[in-house]
């Protein structure tokens, strides 16, 4: 043993004192480490949404059949999407509220597209624990603020779908969308 150590020490040591065997050791393990990372990355990434799931990541909605005061429930990224045409009265009610008094301060104008204030497009996912609020269907309970009402834990949203009462921390989320014509939107 002592003999071979001596041979290593004398015969294989470089000018700078780094032994050839140590260098090979570090290089080999580093190389294997890079290889392991290269294998682990796709193993992790395969759990992300696949191409067919992402392909459904945008949804077109035709607005022509929705009358003022009406709402429809459709899906966007396999979650419910509420599309509502507000009445003049509902818009006035939403504008009357001082945003600074709200839990998640936002005005109706900030939650809608310029010049299309009557179109309120939000996710139908309560920001508390993800239940689907009531209020998009005909005759459903719209809560004491006339917007949406989550039956799970009693969160009430107003006519601009802003949180007013109950445990939810945020307003109903407004997804990214754009008008492709006067009566159609593309969500996502």
């Amino acid at each position: 043993m002592a003999n071979s150590e001596q041979v290593d020490g004398q015969g294989l040591s470089g000018e700078d004192g780094v032994r050839r065997r140590d260098f090979i050791n570090v290089a080999a393990v580093s190389f294997a480490g890079v290889g392991a990372v290269g294998v682990v990355l796709p193993l992790i990434d395969q759990m992300n949404p696949s191409a067919d799931v992402l392909a459904l990541a945008s949804t077109e909605v035709d607005l022509s059949a929705i009358q003022p005061g009406q709402a429809i429930k459709t899906t966007f990224r396999s979650q419910p999407l509420f599309v509502r045409q507000l009445t003049e009265k509902e818009i006035a009610e939403a504008d009357k509220v001082d945003p600074s008094t709200l839990r998640d301060p936002q005005t109706l104008a900030e939650r809608t597209v310029d010049g299309k204030k009557q179109w309120l497009i939000t996710m139908g996912v309560c920001t508390h624990l993800g239940c689907v609020p009531l209020g998009a269907g005909e005759g459903e309970n719209r809560g004491e603020f006339g917007g949406y009402f989550c039956p799970c834990h009693g969160s009430s949203y107003d006519t601009a779908a802003r949180i007013r009462k109950g445990p939810a921390p945020k307003n109903l989320e407004v997804p990214k969308y754009s008008f492709t014509s006067d009566t159609a939107i593309l969500v996502g």
Partner: protein, 430 residues
Amino acid sequence: MSFPWAEHYTPKHPLMQWVDEKLPLPRLVYNAVGAGYPVPRNLNYFWNFGVLAGLALLIQIVTGVVMAMHYGANTLVAFGTVEQTMRDVNAGWLMRYAHANGASFFFIVVYLHIFRGLYFGSYKAPREMVWLLGLVIFLLMMATAFMGYVLPWGQMSYWGAKVITGLFGAIPVVGEPIQTWLLGGFAPGNASLNRFFSLHFLLPFVIAAVVILHIWALHIPGSSNPTGVEVKGPQDTVPFHPYYTAKDGFGAGIFLILFAILLFFAPNYLGHPDNYIEANPLSTPAHIVPEWYFWPFYAILRAFTVDFFFVPAKLLGVLAMFASILLLFFLPWLDTSPVRSGSYRPTFKTFFWILVLDVLILGYCGGAPAEEPYVMISQVAAAYYFAHFLIILPMIARFEKPLPLPNSITEAVLAKYAKADGEPAAVPAE
């Protein structure tokens, strides 16, 4: 390790001698759960629950593998194949009810096993590793049970998956990408169902492997006992077989009788009717609750209703829920009292029972709707839960005056019998 007086494995049959030379597996079994493992002579029935948990795991694996033969992990057919298992597959109803109620029984015996450990100080040196591995098993069990509950793809399955993965969404910045990554989509879907099935099949075998480590770590110092006094000599122990194989066999009989009562007479008692409705992403059940064995933790999650400085209430709840379990990993170092058994710790004993009550209250609140007075009760109970481990236990360890300990297990046992006979204790000279 084993005690020096442990019985030695000496195969008599030539075939067994031949096997022992080639692969000493029978020797391993003999030394682990046979006559070769000396165990304190005074174990009470609370020491049955480790073996019962092993039995419950075995039932889950057998019924689960059978159920997987009839299940289709696809959102289009999953709900239907479970119903088909119930109605059309021979004895399929038995397998499914045994699997669903078996999970509940697994948690019942594991909770009793954990509280046994808490009362008798089984987590203390030199058995810290046994305790830590036990907690790893507990975490794996919870993950497995959660994913298993998603597989029938009923309403509770779907919304449970949504709420639980939504917990990760509460983490700032990385939360939502993590949630999407876990689900393989923006909401629970086919990708989620498939991966949950794959992992639900895998994890029980991981649990079995950690159980082996748990037993291995236990057998190094040997089992603890109700007095908490370590084994001092051969008179303190009896061989595991036949003494505790018989005692555990009796316990297993009782366990199976109770299991059969629930299984055959009230198989849906612990379930939720909503889960017999197929998953509908557009309609939420009125009252989402997890299975009963998650209720105490669910109550802690929901106890946080107001933001604290810049931390939102939802995130606080999530952190508290994870902390309530991770806290237990530090228990061996939080309780510094050198006396193990709660029987000799009067103050500890009182607070132990308050903790049991506290967890039961949390459990009740976790199953109740999120409204007053349950929210306030769970806030108080959650605060007490943390106070017990972080404040009360270290304080007791410092100020409590424990009762005198017996000199040995044998002395404690003989004193008990002497008292029963009305005679003074006969203490063997040591």
